[in-house]
């Protein structure tokens, strides 16, 4: 049997399950548990297949220009590297954690519809397509599948004006950004006459392209992708959307969605940012692009963290902080070296655990119309919900990047990568913005532990969310105390 069949298994599995869960939804009648269980099962199966591919001889794909038509069954539209397999696992994990936490949350706020689970599976399918894309078409389909599912999910509470408003804003701005992304793809296609990223990279290496089209194409691609990861000039939608959407959906969008968007950034950057000096790329040389991305990244973290300070709503505060975290992850793309891309893996993993954990704590604490998630409502949480308060404190410490937790090492590797490629000033900006961020993360902890309130939030029921929270806690602690575990794992598998 051809090895490629096994390598492509995660993609095939998630696509098949995405269709099957829709059929199951049609035939299962009033039974919601079976859809829920099938959703979890399909994500587990996808993650399992991805783990299995890691044990095979996976090609280590550092530079797309280096490989030539090695994937014949999929006609060179997909790439199977350890990097993409790792991200498959990450996306499936985020889907599982979200689904476990969603069950009680969505029936608390509205109704539990079976479509919710189908949509999450479809969104994960879109992300898996992104992580395996070697063709601009594949990348576009993945991004759009993911985004359209997010538009629906953020408007899930359709009787609540905030939810619908966030869906409308996300939809209008998201599809506007898709237009730019698409135009960028069209011009890159015009510059090199190919849609396949490895062929494009080879054309660029051979100086065989139209510099004008490529310049405009890259600029438009940067605009579209910055929209999708909510980087600085295009970050305005993120706080509104993340605040209005159902909390568990926000958890999913702001972690897995962001990781997928960052991953598409990496794919584009690897193909279009050659690591050598290319005389024909005067306007879009690697140095210029790195400089532009560095400025974007610095501005994103500063704006995100500074605006987060003044927020009273915790969900909105976390939304602004997620803007800042996108800025940190961009540092890895700026560095454009192996350590940078490894750093993104570490950061994405740790960010996934801590951000999903923080949002799930919010989701179990908030009341029916999510009106009690302001900072004042969290005063004296230590008395009413001591365990949740402690968990939230751990996630906050990790998000702030304090030493014994996973968030610290994520930042450490990215900062190291940026210094290695000569962007010391970016690292200094990142450190300053981390220090700023400590203020509001610790502020929440102060509210929870060192202030007393007359009417604290009632004791929350955890149900299945406790599983998600437990996994998040384990992730934050494990990779915090033993960061080499993840780095070694990644070193072995590649």
């Amino acid at each position: 049997m051809n090895q490629e069949v096994f390598l492509a298994m995660p993609v095939f599995l998630i696509s098949a399950f995405a269709v099957l869960i829709v059929v199951l939804d049609a035939v299962s009648g009033k039974n919601k548990t079976i859809n829920f269980a099938f959703g979890i099962f399909s994500l587990l199966a996808t993650a399992g297949a991805a783990i299995y591919t890691l044990t095979l001889q996976v090609p280590k794909l550092v530079n797309p220009a280096d490989y030539h038509d090695i994937f014949t069954i999929t006609k060179n539209t997909m790439v199977f590297s350890s990097y993409s397999a790792y991200f498959d696992i990450l996306f499936s994990l985020a889907g599982i954690l979200t689904m476990l936490a969603s069950r009680s949350f969505i029936s608390k706020g509205y109704h539990e519809y079976k479509e919710y689970y189908s949509i999450i599976i479809l969104a994960v399918a879109g992300m898996v397509y992104i992580s395996h894309a070697n063709n601009l078409l594949m990348l576009f389909i993945g991004i759009e599948l993911m985004s359209i599912m997010f538009y629906i999910l953020s408007g899930y509470f359709r009787q609540r004006i905030e939810s619908v408003e966030s869906a409308l804003k996300y939809f209008l701005l998201g599809s506007f950004a898709s237009g730019f992304l698409l135009y960028g793809m069209a011009l890159v296609y015009g510059a090199t006459s190919s849609l396949e990223l490895n062929v494009i990279a080879q054309f660029i290496a051979k100086n065989n392209f139209n510099a004008t089209y490529l310049t405009f194409g890259i600029a438009l691609l940067l605009i579209g992708l910055s929209f999708k990861i909510a980087a600085f000039p295009f970050h305005q939608w993120a706080p509104d959307v993340y605040q209005g959407a159902p909390t568990t959906v926000t958890a999913f969008m702001s972690t897995a969605g962001k990781a997928a968007a960052i991953f598409s950034f990496i794919i584009i950057a690897k193909a279009l940012m050659p690591s050598f000096t290319n005389n024909a790329m005067r306007l879009v040389s690697t140095e210029t692009m790195q400089m532009i991305l560095a400025v974007l990244s610095a501005a994103t973290m500063l704006i995100g963290n500074i605006t987060a300070i003044s927020q009273k709503n915790i969900k909105r505060m976390l939304a602004y902080s997620s803007v800042a975290h996108a800025g940190y992850m961009l540092m890895g793309v700026v560095a454009n070296n192996q350590l940078g891309y490894d750093g993104i893996i570490f950061y994405a993993t740790s960010y996934l655990f801590m951000q999903i954990g923080a949002f799930i704590v919010l989701s179990v604490l908030e009341n029916k119309d999510s009106s009690n998630i302001n900072l004042d409502n969290f005063t004296g949480l230590r008395k009413s919900n001591p365990y949740l308060a402690a968990l939230m404190a751990i996630f906050m410490f990790s998000l702030a990047g304090l030493p014994p937790f996973a968030g610290f090492f994520g930042k450490y590797y990215l900062f190291l990568a940026a210094i290695q490629s000569g962007y010391t000033w970016l690292t200094i900006v990142a450190v300053i913005s981390s220090v700023i961020s400590v203020y509001f993360y610790i502020g929440l902890i102060v509210y929870m532990f060192f202030k007393d309130s007359d009417n604290p939030i009632a004791k929350a029921e955890l149900k299945l969310s406790s599983v998600s929270l437990f996994v998040c806690l384990i992730g934050v602690l494990l990779f915090g105390f033993f960061p080499s575990l993840l780095m070694n794992l990644y070193a072995i598998i590649k």
């Binding site: 269709v19 829709v22 059929v23 939804d25 049609a26 035939v27």
Partner: protein
């Protein structure tokens, strides 16, 4: 270059000219009478009733959206159908998969009552 387009240009000039001349002639020569039927909104000869901004049932919307979605999917079959002879059996199987996936969506809509009128 321009000579090849000359017949087209002549035709355009004539067509446009005749339309303008006829409009001006009817404006100058014709009599003007305003009846209630003439000044009201044109609705294919029917007397207009009610406001044009009336809301209609969401059922029409459901059908329209289903039509948009399934109508556009057919677009993928055109290139396949044109090249079916050269593509052979593998393309046929692939298209059957595609149609099966479409049917899954159609089946879902049917079961959820998306096509019921009442």
């Amino acid at each position: 270059m321009i000579e090849t387009y000359l017949p087209l240009i002549i035709m355009l000039v004539f067509g446009f000219g005749i339309a303008v001349v006829f409009m001006l002639l009817s404006e100058w020569l014709g009599a003007r009478r305003f009846t209630p039927g003439k000044v009201s909104t044109y609705e294919s000869g029917m007397p207009p009733r009610g406001t044009a901004r009336e809301r209609f049932s969401v059922k029409f919307y459901m059908i329209a959206v289903s039509f948009i979605v399934f109508d556009v999917e057919v677009v993928f079959m055109y290139p396949w159908a044109v090249q079916l002879g050269t593509l052979g059996i593998s393309a046929f199987i692939a298209m059957m998969f595609f149609i099966a996936i479409l049917f899954a969506g159609y089946f879902w809509e049917l079961r959820k009552g998306g096509l019921d009128w009442d």
